[in-house]
Symmetry: C2
Subunit: 277 residues, 2 copies
């Protein structure tokens, strides 16, 4: 029997992946959680019918949400991840020797548990690392309650529907600004430049109204809608384009990030550049 | 009735697109040709079951196969496209004022005719432009029969199966080297860095054994396998990384290429960079 998982990424377009088996499904307090074993991508975590991460291409998203900000800040010590229950961003953050504490604020404890069980190489740092503080809490509330606390905050959210809507709101970016230290940096995942142009435009404008430095970069993620994904950075002081590439920390065991692409990812295809004007 | 076109890009993964209608299908002397009208991407040309181009994202492939080489060569006058019967590469080439003659060598005249009928904005320069010479011929033979003739040769091929196998062979790159003038440049489309790693590795090695300068660059094409696509450049003299971006020609009406990305596209994700070692 041939089983295929098909995800409609838009009303009229999608991807389809042959599966060996469905390893797990549940309805948590917040969302539908599924773990599929696919032939092309290995294990695949699906939340509310949208691919979150897979064994084979997870390195792109996790490296690229983390290292660009951490290598723009000269000395990041305390880092917060909002969302990101699979642990991939945390795994990359703790590669930086300067980091003393990486806090995970994930609202859905079940995502953490399912990831630990089925994606151990992604969730590897969620247990037993004294520098990692895993909290099952509302990340928005946590950000609101902390002032002048973090060097870097990463918004590793699901799509802007359901529990994640508040993570794309201007009020939230303002709260992040206040939760950051005076030279702090934020990065948020901001969807596909092909399919989410209005969202990218709005988020960029919102962040640019709050942070002195605002930059957008893109990466290739084959299991995400359109294969092209964007991240938006807001920075109080440091500009990712002003770093000295030759002096950047080269995080170990990466497959996508290297200091040599740190600046080039900000050179955008013309249609993406024009979204930001 | 909901109709979906599903393309298996690999044995275990594919894309699926909702279609309004099938506008045309035929079996030409060389391949199956289909023109679909899709809701997401507009009209879609499919050859032997593989998406070749669509209304909405064609600009990426056509701009990026053409402008990088044409802006690396300081004065390209005579340009050859092998394949490329839809006319998109030709449309971009003739934007360069230095170009006196752009020759299209397409083996399948039916691709040209179907494109003229259904993709008029892509095929726009295939009729009535005295600088364009459309020939329904075997591009391999044409390359073999011409020596020291072209400034730039673009290999705008289908996938390396069926009629296009010879377009990925080392002998062919050697023939291109000889068909180019002493400072000529070639660019070939070389598939997905996610799905075609052995091919990329081999072609890069073959071209590097013939040309003094060999470079690989990548672009985002959502309807192509994995969404990330590679092009390999072989150059007898000029290095695309040594141009002065500030002095590059800015081709009109582009949506992807701009002089500001001319160099950055050569900065590769680490796993792609490592294919070339």
């Amino acid at each position: 029997m041939d089983l295929w998982y098909t995800e409609k990424q838009t009303e009229n377009f999608g991807i389809t992946a042959k599966i060996k088996e469905t390893l797990h499904t549940e309805k948590s307090e917040f969302q539908d959680i599924a773990m599929l074993d696919t032939l092309q991508w290995g294990k695949m975590l699906v939340l509310d019918g949208m691919v979150m991460t897979t064994d084979k291409d997870e390195f792109v998203y996790h490296e690229m949400i983390a290292h660009v900000a951490l290598n723009t800040h000269p000395n990041p010590k305390k880092v917060l991840v909002v969302g990101g229950g699979d642990g991939g961003a945390i795994r990359e953050i703790v590669k930086h020797p300067s980091v003393e504490k990486a806090v995970l604020a994930e609202i859905d404890g079940r995502v953490i548990e399912v990831s630990k069980q089925y994606l151990p190489q992604i969730a590897s740092e969620l247990t037993g690392n004294p520098r990692v503080d895993v909290q099952v809490i509302d990340g928005i509330k946590h950000v609101q309650e902390n002032k002048n606390e973090y060097d870097v905050i990463l918004v590793d959210s699901t799509e802007p529907v359901g529990p994640a809507v508040g993570l794309f709101a201007r009020d939230f970016y303002q709260a992040i600004f206040e939760a950051l230290k005076e030279d702090g940096i934020m990065v948020a995942q901001t969807e596909s430049p092909w399919f989410n142009q209005e969202l990218i435009r709005r988020v960029y404008k919102d962040i640019a109204a709050i942070f002195p430095v605002t930059r957008l970069y893109t990466v290739s993620i084959p299991t995400y809608p359109s294969g092209l994904w964007s991240f938006t950075m807001g920075s109080k002081k440091y500009d990712p384009l002003h770093v000295d590439e030759a002096k950047l920390f080269d995080p170990p065991n990466t497959k996508y990030y290297s200091p040599s692409i740190h600046k080039s990812i900000f050179r955008l295809p013309k249609f993406v550049e024009e979204l930001l004007k």
